[in-house]
Symmetry: D4
Subunit: 249 residues, 8 copies
């Protein structure tokens, strides 16, 4: 019985005021109109759901995915997982696609893309590719077209500039970079769309597991840059997808 139903029952006398008061307190606020409160845990982008694989066994991940699909989800994404999840899903008769670089297993059907717009994902060096791919695949599963420009470090700035048109045409740009974390600033100066910077834990010595890149990105001289946690490719892909679909409705 949701909030309205309770009120109706009070109105027609089938529910006492006392009971109604108790019920209103006890149940999820969702019934009072806060339906979106639950959005965070069930990502209803397109028709996809997300399982954070790092803290689950392959069995747990696949079991949850299976249940979701049985209940109507078209596509379930398991992040930070290894190939075992894929093998197990396949052996359960599920359609499964494992993206090794991204460490993401996609179970079910990736929703078709209905927009022409695209998100651009860049990274500075080859070691940053796993984080960049996590972002790119996340955005794809959430319904975005994605264009990638990898290995475009600032010490070889011409490589970045040669892709400038592509970058400037995106609705949002994700930039993954470790070491000195300079790439988002350069990109942020090229584009007039939001740049989501992802510091990576790539580097050694004074890179401090990504802290240096994180701090550098926070201090970007480009006003278009905001930052997510170290190696948080998923978060970047998720935010970019929210921006990309902004023009939709």
């Amino acid at each position: 019985m949701n909030g309205r139903a309770i009120l109706e029952a009070v109105k027609d006398g089938s529910l006492s005021v006392d009971d109604a008061e108790r019920m209103l307190r006890a149940q999820p606020f969702v019934d009072l109109g806060f339906a979106k409160v639950d959005t965070q845990r069930r990502l209803r982008q397109g028709a996809s759901e997300v399982i954070y694989g790092a803290s689950k066994t392959p069995e747990q991940s696949v079991k949850i995915a299976e249940t979701l699909i049985e209940n109507g989800s078209e596509c379930v994404m398991v992040t930070r997982c290894n190939e075992e999840v894929h093998d197990l899903a396949t052996s359960h008769g599920l359609r499964s696609d494992y993206r090794k670089d991204a460490r993401i297993c996609i179970i079910g059907d990736i929703p078709e893309r209905t927009r022409d717009s695209y998100v651009c994902v860049l990274c500075a060096g080859t070691s940053d590719i796993p984080v960049a791919e996590e972002a790119a695949v996340t955005a794809e599963v959430l319904g975005c077209n994605v264009k990638r420009t990898y290995d475009a470090g600032v010490a070889g700035i011409h490589r970045l500039l040669s892709d400038a048109d592509t970058i400037m045409g995106a609705t949002a740009v994700i930039v993954a970079a470790g070491m000195e974390g300079a790439l988002p600033s350069v990109v942020g100066g090229l584009v007039s769309v939001p740049v989501i910077a992802v510091p990576t834990s790539v580097g050694y010595g004074a890179s401090f597991g990504g802290l240096t890149a994180l701090l550098a990105m926070m201090n970007s001289c480009a006003s278009t840059v905001s930052v997510v946690n170290i190696d948080n490719g998923f978060g970047a892909g998720y935010i970019a997808s929210l921006i990309d679909k902004r023009g939709e409705v």
Copy 2:
């Protein structure tokens, strides 16, 4: 002579290949189509420009504003300035509006808003208001409608929830918070649009001038949250405006 003009001149023989080659190298890339490269420094959102007032004398700020307006800008925003800029602008016969809380002086006419959408700006405590206002006024000058929910700290969570409908209806949400920096996480769990978190330097002791809030925001358990520099209300307002107008063209 821009890139095309140079090519035309080469074609008609009025320019030698040697001279053309030298000219192409020497001049700003803008002529080769990288017009947007310059976007960062001249914010052509609506018809507004931005002057960073903190590192300039009132005279310098007003002089630059005057020149921009004489050259066709409708509206110039001077950030991090005091009331002197406003007084001086007025004495120069410029239309000027000083927003004390935001420390922003708006010279010229704020562009009319043509969108129905709005950006929501929240802050945790009254001490965070200057940063929140810098974000809010920035977004307004850049053409956005803005709705404010101030003093909605997590230790009085009901205040936040009572504004939940407003918050959930925005195209982007800016959250300024100091101390433990928890508000963006709570908000990020409520909404399915990008949340731009601004750590503020409000606090004492182990707040370390905003570092604690910054780190907490980076670790947000809500995937919708990205972060800008401590006290960087301008950046947050700017990014939010980019997202808000995304649906426009």
Copy 3:
């Protein structure tokens, strides 16, 4: 109209279900039973209220205090304020008591203490006294008896031990210490009641404004010790008062 009143009105038909649903959403959750949600901002310990004076003008502080007392508060405490608040309160005809060491102005009547139990406040050096006093006066205004043992640093451990009986008889012990922050561990080994440690910003060089004391206290080998923010005497006094009155009801 609170939650129950709304339900009654729905029941007797004076309120439509639609309007009731809207009203339930719009109003503070307090009406649905979350009365204590508001506790944080209005500290109803005994009959006292608290105003954080640091971010207010004396005029603002006194105005708020006056209003609260006119509305039935017996006692209002203004923290982190200077003597101006006291002078202004007195000139408004309010009964006022300024505790210089604690930087607290007490307006109205401190509630009588009805318990025999007491809270013990210790500090390591004379420079820690302001923080210790903020804690002690806070606890007193919130209805506790307080016993003080000041200047009991660990480098003169006999001073502490000579007060051991007093310390061991308290319901809660507050320990303020800067520099190496060792006192809470020693005290925590003496007593079997909660010890609330307050790192102070006293020290120089590698004390880093209290961070060293804070970290040392976090690592206390005594299991009875928990820690509040640097210089947060108010918080410590508040928590101690909650523990002290625990046995009351």
Copy 4:
């Protein structure tokens, strides 16, 4: 011969002043009335004792437990231990109960609870459960009733609010949280009893092994919150038990 006995012997001449002086110096201060000095190492809460298992072999832990029980202890708790301790204790004919989540082995009989009051233990995510359970089981062994509310992260605030009545009825609330460490602030705003915050080392990137959560909790805007060391569930459970039994005597 304790302090009084020594004095009596001096009085009746059976002990010389010289010998008495030497004896007073040499013996534990406990004889001079500091009996509780020893409390820290032998936790006489109910009738339970605690062994820190992390720095001991299973054999050592079980040997100590056996000796304690032979000497009259009803219940001995071994913390941070694995199942080997349990197996070994059982093979020694000891009644043993292993709590896997809490990594605690309880040897002997948990004391019956004689109070109606209860302690509430919350945690933000499933990864925080081991720390929360260490706190919960510790409090139980020390004689408290415990109610648990797990997986109540701030990004899904309604889950927390739906348990608000339970939380508000406790005598003390323990909150374990990693990542941004925001949960204690939200809880601290709901209740008017002490909140003991336990930062956990859960997180990645800029969580720095729990430091971010620790700093955030230190800066809590709720005055009811004090903090213990990262992952220190035992300390939190111990302090909560002290508060819970405060009303007893």
Copy 5:
């Protein structure tokens, strides 16, 4: 009545056992033989006492000094004070000597030195001299001969080496250095006596107020080096005096 006197009184019946027991507990442990417990606060080196001037008014400092001298102290040292203390002491008819560089005022008569041994004080740059002088004057007032080698930074290593004989002949060496804090390591390699390193807050940028020097000194490759707090010249001088007089008794 000290500990022995109490025992004698019990013996001769002039004091009851009850009263004796209470008195033993109440009074300073000094009477039970812990006379040195008090050493820290009353430095009985030679016949000198120390007042920490930084947290006292000139009036307070002089008043304390006066009282000490009236009660038999030959010499009182006021540290971290300005010339006002000296002027005030002189106007009170006290013999006073102000050491400007060391910020120390010596009231009374410096004890004559009866040892031939000496302490050596070095510093790296002219900006380190105040800290070095605080150490040197402290050691002198505490009865040591002191030899100074200033401005002997490692970037001009020959200056240090030319004083090598002097340095090697000391009973203890104090080295004050800011910036990279390298001098103690070099000195520690030259001598076979304890080297007390004092990091100073001299430097800029990445010197972090002396933290860099402190950390460098902690990592000294010379095994003879131990470290005191940043700018703690007094502590270094005090420890050196303890070592210097070691051979005395």
Copy 6:
């Protein structure tokens, strides 16, 4: 078709202005004269190229080296690799030389040195040798003569001074040091050529993986010292080679 070729084609009419404009934008800036933009990735010092072996399989490293040599490179250096690379290169019929201490495999022929000048490489302790050797071998492969002075820690300063003539005669000096990182300052005071300091991760406790050495080196009192990342021997060797060959052309 490079930039000039495009212009020529426009001039002779074989290329339209439109196509020329598009081509100028699309192709690498190298064609417009920024040939050196690419320098970073292909180190054309003498005739050597560099492969960063740490992030590649031996197979990948050798394959790249083989291709480069087939395309005319005389010498290819694989850094941070183990002996497998050497064995594999040899089995491919390549001339290969593995420098174990430096963890560098040199494939092909080290270019002959044509300069009399030399670079000097120092290190403080035997544990710093791998970093020093990485620097030394890098400089050698890039065409420099190298003189080594190892195990010259500041705590045995005479060892350093006995090599002073050698050190002072170099065109650039590389100094690798961990722990307190003092050696570059001492060396920087001896020479009037650039000193490139390399902090190493050698040490324990408060050395923090090289951070202490890094900070100490940044604060060097010698103006000749600049610093590269922790353990970055390659970078130091590369910069030194640039300085050494400065006098060449």
Copy 7:
């Protein structure tokens, strides 16, 4: 009497071996051939000397300068000084030139430049100019030609590229940058000469007084970059001058 003179005196019998041995030990090593040991303190580049003005009164600075010039110095540079030094020098009849941006006063005649080569000095923003100018003027006084490219931040990368030819033609490049400190990496990718990076304390929030820029620069992906202390323009200019004159002799 220098080392040689001592030996001559021993040879001709005018000095005993004992006295000679003592004298050799006592005097500066400079006489034994380590003349360059003293180089650090007396910068004999061209014919210029340097006085660090920050820790001296104008009177002291001018007095030293006057003495140096009377003793044959052609040019003395006073760093980190204000205009008072210039006024005082002029009033003493000295030829003086005050460079306001660089905070350097040049007393005497800047040596003529005899090389064609030049050093390039870049900075990211207008706020970085004082540090850049300190570097540039230092290099000029030490005999270098200097070319400046200011306000070339990475967020407007085309400005940098348009000066690429100038930058690529230098013998050494100095790059001063605050905030994210990204510029040196971009420049380091363009050139094949040493890049000396100077982090500046420009920025706010998470720039931590230049620490973020410093760390970012240490992690530069360009192998040509080494770093000096925050705001250390003088050091950068000095090192660049050493590299520039490398080709001279």
Copy 8:
């Protein structure tokens, strides 16, 4: 030929001035009287030598020890080594004694102690014993008598006080403590001899591998305390032995 011999040769004409000058420069400074420069590397305390075992193979350690003993050393101490060194030494026919707790192997004969004085070594918890033992055994091998007081943490302060007489009678006190690092302050208040504090890496969470203990010790309110690196028991034992033997000559 040492310095004096050179001078004699010049005097009698058998050596030219030119050659003498060159020779003086070339040879170790030891010949000029800096014999003690070498002290650091060869610890001639009593007749013992030290080998740092951590960076050597057992074979290397034993080989060095064997050589030293063949050349007249009575006793060689190998630190941070495992039992293999002992076994190997024994198999080489060397007298060997392995101290497991201290991780030290003593090869040869510990010198007899000729002093009555003693050094006292304390530690806070059982986990600190390895570091304390490293200090204690080092001091013993270097000729000191050592008295140990272990497991004397500040949370059970009476245990420390019951050993007060022993502690107060030492010539130097070493205190090893992890966690909050409070013990040295308490001890420093009891004694009037130098206290050498050794932070240990014992602890978890916010102990940061010993950094918290280190910082706490640096801030000790007792003036007798100086600090060595984390876990540096050897250094503490070495310094204590220097102090202990101070009274000897």
